[in-house]
Symmetry: C2
Subunit: 537 residues, 2 copies
């Protein structure tokens, strides 16, 4: 019974009559505005925070007005059937944040220093203050924002997960049957990986590192790329990125202005095309043939600034650009001052012979930005990519990375460095090469058995996926995106070939990853694709 005007009474509160002291008007008001409040006893939020939030929101919305007196903590605690500590904690926080004030000897009051106009306007949120930010597009976002939204929408039917945002739910190793770009996850030596991680854990406590990447990783990576991929590079030219996607984004930002044109393979990797569009640049497709990009289609008076290639295993069609054409492309690029972005995404998996060396190592390396990823050779969730850039571009690319995202996480970089250094990496690659070669045979046999009348497989002795093109004479009018939808219903993934094309698709068909599907399940899976096609046809 604090305060001279305190009295005693009953009040209908929280569903029952309660006995408590109150001090004239103020507690009536406070109790009244808390009438719609109930503690959520099963919430993870403490009672103290719940009370704090309830009072705060009522002050902010003007339901508790300036100078209203707050009941004493004892009154409050009693009326709410909670401890005084709970109430005191909430009141202290409100005081610290400026919602309530203390008058000496007279308890707490709602602050009279809050801008009343805000509280009033906020009370009626439908008299929207927000009109100005809601522009023509209804969002108030930038041109970039509209572009990426547009790209996203146009991509919604695609199932190309490496770049997609479609499938959110996932945990542990799941069914990814025929999803392109996913390696054999069960075959990854995750225990060894975990051991190395544990051994290197203290690296995590090194503080901030260089945005260019963890030096020991850049060193072993440069060694590996020189010896296995024929690159001419030093560790100073290697930049570690968040997947190959960030490497592409950095290259496109540093080398293109908005409105510039970039040449891409058609059909080609969707992620690159999206990144170019997000950069505000234009995409011009150049058709691919059996030997990768068709060099007779390279414009003789090019206006583009950059060309993106997957010369060692064209994505998705699988062609391998022969040496002579590589040199001709480089010569064309150098003559016209065009940058070459070489995406070497799954170059490690060639089954007939060692993979052909990268274009970066063919002599005009000042013209070439080389991009690679550990997603396919280790595991996608690692999300480590890299780029090797001409010396004169290192500073600009590192600066771009600095302001776009800063350094990359350390622990995974350190683990990857030791995984390579210790020889485990090459051993893993070797095992996977043998395994995937068998899987390639198995998927081709299954396609031959179940789909030979409707589709033609396209593949080289390389990579982790095949392409099936539909026989248009047989599957008249069948849309490959419909087939993918029908496949998904049968829990079979894979992508629609048409979505890889810049404009009108030349073929309808499927891009099927085979690396993360057991040999024993290949036949049944491909049989289901046959069913899916039947369901659509």
């Amino acid at each position: 019974m604090i305060g001279s005007d305190a009295s005693i009474g009953y009040y209908w509160f929280l569903g029952k009559f309660q006995f408590f002291g109150f001090d004239g008007s103020s507690i009536m008001i406070v109790v009244d505005v808390l009438r719609d409040f109930e503690f959520e006893t099963d919430s993870s939020v403490t009672l103290q925070v719940q009370l704090y939030q309830a009072l705060k929101s009522r002050i902010l919305t003007g339901r508790l007005t300036a100078s209203t007196r707050i009941p004493s903590s004892r009154q409050f605690a009693s009326s709410l059937s909670v401890s005084r500590n709970t109430v005191n904690g909430a009141l202290e926080q409100l005081k610290a944040e400026g919602y309530i004030k203390t008058k000496q000897g007279a308890g707490h009051y709602v602050s009279d220093e809050l801008p009343e106009s805000f509280l009033l306007v906020h009370k009626k949120p439908d008299v929207s203050l927000l009109s100005k930010t809601v522009n023509a597009k209804g969002l108030g976002v930038s041109g970039f924002g509209c572009t990426v939204l547009g790209e996203l929408v146009s991509d919604e039917v695609s199932n190309d997960l490496p770049i997609g945002v479609e499938r959110v739910e996932r945990s542990e190793v799941k069914n990814t049957s025929f999803e392109a770009g996913v390696p054999d996850l069960k075959a990854f030596p995750i225990k060894k990986w975990g051991q190395i991680t544990s051994d290197n854990l203290r690296i995590a406590l090194m503080g901030y590192d260089s945005p260019q990447g963890y030096e020991p990783l850049r060193r072993v990576l440069a060694d590996y790329l020189r010896s296995s991929r024929g690159l001419e590079c030093s560790l100073d030219q290697v930049i570690i990125t968040v997947g190959a996607q960030q490497a592409s984004s950095i290259a496109l930002h540093v080398l293109l202005n908005e409105g510039d044109t970039a040449y891409v393979e058609n059909p080609g990797y969707i992620g690159m095309r999206k990144a170019i569009a997000a950069r505000g640049a234009n995409v011009q497709g150049i058709d691919v043939g059996e030997e990768g990009i068709d060099i007779t289609q390279l414009p003789s008076n090019p206006t583009g600034k950059l060309i993106c290639l997957t010369p060692t295993h064209q994505y998705p069609m699988g062609g391998i650009v022969p040496l002579g054409n590589r040199l001709r492309i480089l010569q064309w690029a150098a003559t016209h001052g065009i940058w070459v972005v070489e995406d070497d995404y799954d170059s490690e998996y060639h089954y007939d012979h060692k993979p052909i060396a990268a274009m970066q190592g063919l002599g005009l390396k000042e013209q070439v930005i080389y991009i690679g990823s550990f997603s396919k050779v280790l595991f996608p969730a690692l999300r480590l990519g890299y780029m090797v850039v001409p010396k004169r571009l290192v500073k600009a690319c590192v600066a771009a990375k600095t302001y776009m995202s800063g350094q990359s996480p350390i622990i995974d970089q350190a683990t990857t460095a030791e995984f390579i250094q210790s020889g485990l990496f090459l051993r893993h690659l070797h095992r996977m090469r043998l395994l995937y070669e068998k899987k390639l045979q198995a998927i081709l046999e299954a396609c031959n058995k179940h789909l030979s009348n409707v589709a033609i497989p396209i593949y080289s002795g390389a990579g982790m996926h095949i392409v099936l093109t539909f026989k248009s004479a047989v599957l008249k009018g069948v849309n490959d995106k419909d087939v993918v939808h029908a496949m998904n219903k049968l829990q079979i993934y894979g992508s629609a070939l048409s979505s890889y094309y810049v404009n009108t698709p030349k073929y309808q068909g499927l891009v099927l990853g085979f690396a993360n599907t057991d040999v024993s399940k290949m036949d049944g899976g491909i049989d289901k694709i046959g069913q899916a096609i039947d369901n659509v046809f």
Copy 2:
């Protein structure tokens, strides 16, 4: 002695006379062009790869010309004193890549299908093909590239490591004395962290995940932000990023067009300013006072599109924006359609009372992009940040992240989620709060003892750093960047206050982190700063 024209002879090769068969002219040529070649026996590159590289580079530079016959592997092996397997491996690779061809029954020849013009041009690299790409700036990079390079150069004297690219060499826990933004690394429960990582390792094998972030992490984070920071948000509005820097970059890309203006605190966080410049937008500074940003300086007819704030602990000056001003800023922003980017970078560390709740939770959340980071509360090398965006911006921001870098690495996300979920996170925060409060006292005492005649400490009861402003009357003409250089020589870090200013710095001084310096070393460290100032003065 294969081939009808084979004969036998001696040849001066690799430093000694050697006996071998040769077939007329061809081996002479091959041996001749290999005259400057020696195996590096101590190299990590195999002999086979070395031989492959030597022959390849000689073909590419035109020293081995089209149709030159390659000696048999036996001849080659004998002349080079290596095994035939080594030679065969190298020749097979050259054949696979198209450098050499086989004529039936007549051995290997240098391919005649390589574009001769390339080889000739390449032979004389000084007749540069590259002239066209080397533009006025000498690099051929985009406007963006020039901008980030410019920002980098202007930043070279700064020691602000969270954004810096300066210090590359580092491993394990190192001396980071007084470096701002580094938490107490030795106090981090790294063993527990490692255990959780091990337990969750199989998460790594889940394949591709959503670019928005690992759902369990978004869920616990949304809970935490609601209960501890007063946010109004659901997990659908949370986006996991590569540090707060990527969150800033995404927000700036989605909300600003090139040429737009953004308001920043002056002095303020360098990384944000750089990210705005990298976006091609203009920066306009608004002075800060003791209570954070000076709201009387907010333009009444603003032309800017966005304002960046650190309201809960102004970086670097430490002011805390009181509730009334928070509401006034929000009202101003909503009235003029200005986005508020709220960087809540070290809000967890307030020592007098619970930190004041975030602006995002004050009712006009549609206007606010909230950004946070685990760098300060866990460890910087983790490189996990997050943003909470209005529902209508989620799609655009996720699309931006998708095309800029795609998903974030999984393992660290899963470990962080469990670290929070298990209660270890709050316990760690609590311990650190007690620890840092002591460190704050210690650094203030040390400054009082050693620097009171030259500098005034500025701090609030919060955060992980203090600011010292130089007494200009005493330290006439002393440049704080020179002081930092002198400090670095004594292995003391910390940043120059002047580098945080948009234009002319109002104060010269130092920004000193105290979280990663032992209490026992505080006095000695600050004493050294006194020496450094003496050395410069």
